[in-house]
């Protein structure tokens, strides 16, 4: 193991280790977890020059302040993030999608995400953390995964297992584009809702509530009226499912969601729009657009091609 490590001076609001998540555990109640914005996770690792799917640090709104101890390490930040690096005699404002080098005593201050929620910090190498059920992803609710299932805490150390001296000038020209409409496939209980509500759901704006986190995004706006039953027999759910509880305010299930739910499902966000959905900050407006399964499948192919194309453009 290397002698390199970070000291956590400020942990940030919700900073956790994440990778691509864990599979095959829904039946015992363990959600997928993993990086909320998969594309930015993949780009962070690619620019940092990591071959496999290394664990990264995901942060929300305000990120951590980390003091580097050791010889050197390269890192990359992705998303739409303000950060700066304080070296012995100078301060550098950081740019996302670019590699930087940290040396003994340097301080990385991840100040905030801009008009978005999540950002990612990858090092060129690997953190010294433990796999649980084949994933490094942390689920704080069930206290599963890296860092004993906890968020980063003040004064803790983050040990670095190995680093590689990666070409430190690698970068990518990329702007996270904002999304106008979130595309949705009708849910299995679509007909539980009144004609007016169904129409409103696909035409009116909703506001993202402050009560949103890695488990779910709560929405406020026109109340969705249920005309059949506000409860269903509990059944499995997946990320992207939009449930409507008794109060009529929709909730979108996100990566750390409960695996079973008993509220009717009005719709499901399509896979290609998920990364953009999770980046919509509280207070923002959101609008849903109905889409067919075949179109959603085609859009997912495009999404994957775009991601591959971006990775190939890293120089």
């Amino acid at each position: 193991m290397s002698k390199n490590y970070f000291e956590v001076i400020r942990p940030g609001i919700n900073s956790t280790f994440q990778d691509l998540g864990r599979k095959n555990l829904y039946h015992i109640g363990i959600p997928f977890s993993g990086a909320m914005d998969k594309r930015n996770y993949l780009l962070a690792n690619a620019i940092a020059g990591n071959k496999g799917n290394s664990a990264i640090i995901e942060f929300a709104y305000q990120g951590p302040i980390l003091k580097f101890k050791g010889e050197k390490v390269n890192f990359t930040i992705t998303g739409d993030v303000n950060f700066k690096i304080t070296k012995k005699n100078k301060e550098v404002d950081g740019c996302c999608y670019q590699n930087y080098k940290l040396e003994e005593g340097d301080i990385l201050d991840i100040i905030s995400t801009n008009r978005s929620v999540y950002g990612y910090l990858a090092i060129s190498g690997n953190f010294d953390i433990q796999l649980q059920w084949n994933s490094y992803s942390t689920n704080i609710k069930a206290q599963i995964g890296s860092n004993n299932g906890k968020k980063l805490e003040k004064n803790q150390q983050i040990k670095i297992l190995d680093t590689h001296s990666h070409e430190s000038k690698k970068k990518l020209e990329y702007l996270n584009n904002k999304i106008e409409n979130i595309r949705v496939i009708k849910g299995t209980n679509y007909n539980y809702f009144s004609e007016d509500s169904k129409k409103f759901f696909f035409t009116k704006e909703f506001t993202v509530s402050k009560l949103s986190d890695r488990m779910g995004m709560r929405l406020e706006g026109i109340k969705i009226e249920n005309i059949v039953d506000t409860n269903i027999k509990s059944e499995g759910i997946i990320k992207g499912v939009i449930q409507v509880p008794t109060d009529g305010n929709p909730i979108i299930m996100l990566s750390d969601h409960g695996t079973i739910g008993g509220y009717p499902k009005i719709g499901v966000v399509i896979s290609s729009d998920y990364d953009k959905l999770v980046q919509i900050p509280p207070g923002s407006k959101i609008k849903f657009k109905e889409i067919k399964l075949s179109d959603a499948e085609m859009l997912f192919k495009l999404y994957e091609m775009e991601t591959a194309n971006l990775i190939s453009k890293i120089k």
Partner: protein, 224 residues
């Protein structure tokens, strides 16, 4: 038998076994769950059995709805012999400190606390599914005289280990969690143990649970 397979979004199959909730239909769901799991079909990320549904979510970059649907429709389903569920004994303390909603149940059901506990402890319970939070079992069926609705306003925090009732079901909260079930007691047993990677959940679908009432002293002296 699966009555119908539809899509839940663009990356999951929604397999419907009917609308009724009973052990027979649930056993059928679990049989499909085990058979599909055993086949390790490429692209499947998760299979979630519940009372009468089976949700199969998949990786859209590997497979898609139509092709996976065909595979599931043509899958060979065999019976697993000698694979009856386990019988698990769970001690519960119903001291007033833990029985948060026993008074509510007395008034809603119009029977005494003694009668509620007597009816509750005289039955064995079948585990329909686990989920919602890690390891959390959905058990049933409770005696007809014990069936009450959820709390009008759910609790923000239900203590870990709480045992709750609603409709014909009972459950055990494996972690502190929000929830609306009527709490009648608490178990000192750890129902979910993350250090046991192979089998972290004590109770799984198809298992039988027998509850045993214990005193406050026994609760406090419980050692695993």
């Amino acid at each position: 038998m699966i009555k119908n397979i539809s899509n839940l979004g663009d990356a999951a199959l929604y397999c419907d076994f009917g609308t009724v909730v009973n052990k027979e239909i649930n056993t059928e769901v679990i049989k499909y769950f085990k058979n599909i799991k055993e086949k390790n079909i490429n692209g499947i990320d998760n299979i979630t059995p519940s009372y009468n549904k089976l949700i199969i979510s998949f990786d859209l970059s590997v497979t898609n709805f139509e092709s996976l649907k065909k595979k599931i429709e043509n899958i060979e389903i065999k019976n697993f012999e000698n694979k009856k569920g386990n019988v698990i004994k769970i001690p519960i303390c119903c001291d007033k400190e833990f029985a948060l909603d026993i008074k509510r149940l007395e008034s809603k059901l119009n029977i005494s606390e003694e009668k509620i506990l007597e009816k509750f402890f005289s039955k064995e319970y079948y585990c329909y599914m686990t989920g919602f939070i890690a390891g959390h079992p959905f058990l049933g069926d409770t005696d007809k005289s014990l069936r009450a609705k959820r709390l009008e306003t759910p609790r923000v925090r239900i203590p870990k280990g709480s045992v709750g009732l609603t409709e014909q079901f009972c459950n055990i909260y494996t972690f502190e969690s929000p929830g609306g079930w009527n709490i009648i007691g608490n178990t000192p047993v750890n129902i979910f143990n993350k250090s046991k990677e192979e089998k972290p959940n004590l109770i799984g679908p198809g298992d039988t649970v027998i509850f045993k009432q214990i005193s406050k002293t026994e609760y406090e002296n419980h050692n695993e």
